[in-house]
Amino acid sequence: MHVTSPAFKENAARALANPGLQKALGTAKGAFLARRAAAVAALPEFERLREIGRDIKNHTLANLDFYLEAYEAKVKAAGGQVHWCSTADDARATVLAICRRAGARTVTKGKSMISEELGINQHLEAHGIRPVETDLGEYILQLRQEAPSHIIAPAFHLNREDWEADFRRLHTDLPADRVFAERRDIMTEARGKLRGSFLAADVGITGANFLIAETGSSVIVTNEGNGDLTQTLPRVHIALASIEKVVPTLEDATSLLRLLARSATGQDFSVYTTFSTGARREADLDGPEEYHVVLIDNGRSNMIGTDFQEMLRCIRCAACMNHCPVYGVVGGHAYGWVYPGPMGSVLTPSLVGIEKTALLPNASTFCGRCESVCPMKIPLPKMMRHWREREFERHLTPAGIRGNLGAWAFLARRPGLYRLATRAAIGALGLLGRGKGAFRSLPLAGGWTGGRDLPVPEPGGTFMARHAKTRRQRHA
């Protein structure tokens, strides 16, 4: 996928000025927060399960080479194949080769973020194979030729009117008098359209939420059932999975599954949690004859042993973006690549380079809500700070900000001078702002006041001055 993260500021400004998007964001967000809160409240062990989840993933990452090889051996024993791919290019070529060997013309797809990361659809299309997205949200985005704006709710940015308009425009066989009074009518139309594709497809491509070393299974979690139709009906099933998806045992996966649905959609458990292990057995009446796992690195192994290793614990639940005040107003597209929100602000620089993505770790208020809801206890704000430090070290920060930070650093190393300067500044601001509650604009600080107000300092001087005064009073 093309990276537009360098234009984050412009993207965000456009998002804020888009009333349709603002309406969609407003509708969607509250629903997620309330549902997650209720599901978590109903499971008293949730906090302990978070610690267990974190420990399972840490244990796995510390032995990732071992578990990947153990996993591969089990897949082979069950009649499947594992294709190791270092880069996105390798993975695209592998998928295309499997599809060609299968003589595929139509390929159905379950929702998969790694597929977006690799650009599988574009690659297949360029080679004459038709990919059909079957997740309801992904389906409308494919019609609109848009990327997902959320990792579990791809059409987060659309309103019902958008769905209806697109169906009328692009489903050309639709009678003009067909009514779309309810959401259900939209769903029925998509279900009908996609049934034919499910039954006609030669290859089905899904992602994987987990890989299990104990059994050689790939796990998908869905509510619609589209992923299961995708991996059950065609003759060939390809599961795309990045290397950090592996966990040791069914018990480990089960513990993580207790966290996943609750954190994601606020369900106790998703409707379909399905474990696929190898190809169709001799007596089976259905299921694919070929089972391929495309195991993808694409930059992840380089995160091991760095400040960003903990990001590999991520189970893609989206709680961090659902709770992020920045995501909540700019939506997912502004982030400019596959993974939006706090997890994207940490992961995207790791995978595509900080040069193009330096603005993302800055798209944060550091309120800490992402970390507090992350089921895997990933210290997202800390890692965004790591990126900011690297960005600064590598002189990727704009000159104006560097200059101001430099001046601040000069003062901060000289406490006497610092106190003097802040006292002067606060005095000046107090004088300027007397009688007002807040500044709507300030000379030299347009970047700040453009998006928010700056409160006028309360009388009483700087923090240091007030602190000293309180101490004096207490000791008096």
């Binding site: 629903a31 399960l49 420990d55 769903m187 619609e224 018990e251 106790d268 292990t277």
Partner: protein
Amino acid sequence: MSKDAILGAIRRGLKRGPLPADQAAMLQGRLATHPRHLIPARSRLPRPQQVALFVRNVEKEFGTVERVPDLAAVPAAVADYLAAQNLPSRFVMAPHAELAGIPWKDRPLLEFEARRAEGSDQVSLQHGYAGIAETGTLMFPSEAGRPVTLNLLPETEIVVLRASRIRGAYEEAWDLLRAESQDTRSGGFMPRNVMLVTGPSRSADIEQTLELGAHGPRRLHVVLVDDDPAALPMADADVAPPVSVPGGPAAPGD
């Protein structure tokens, strides 16, 4: 080769070579013993309450449940359900010995074929392997007698489940499978496919608002056969509150 490159990069990051034999053996041991972690308290209940919790959770997830005294009562229950839903009395049935043994001729108007499902099937009758009370989840391991397509293609799925097959937590259902299943191909216990199904298909992709019946069944109906005397509903007795079961250490040193 990509495999060597990936494993090499992982090991460089971990600042070590391949795991020494003793450590690899320890991890093999963890795979073989697959230790349990913390199991939530909610399903640690006496049998009658555990089965009642299963029923409540299926209903909470928009499924329906009817309890019948024995397998002989299944045909009437299925016929009545189909009539009540205004559905035809024709269905595709899992070719499972237990379902074949049901006295279907008691309801001669019911028509069925025992096979996998096709796109044109409206109703399926599936064999339930196990139920998980914790979340009202049905477990369907694939086998010749339990095709996967029955869980997916028809708009209505009816599941015949024996109450004696209801467990509290997922871990207990996995152990049931480990004890009973033998996969000829891999030599392990995992069949090609295991579906854990919790309620009928749904989507919230349109404005984050739930709609039932996305691509899979719109209706999920469980006919629960009370074959377990210890699990029959009883008058509310004094029941001790459930407690969670802590897991053991997952690996030495974990």
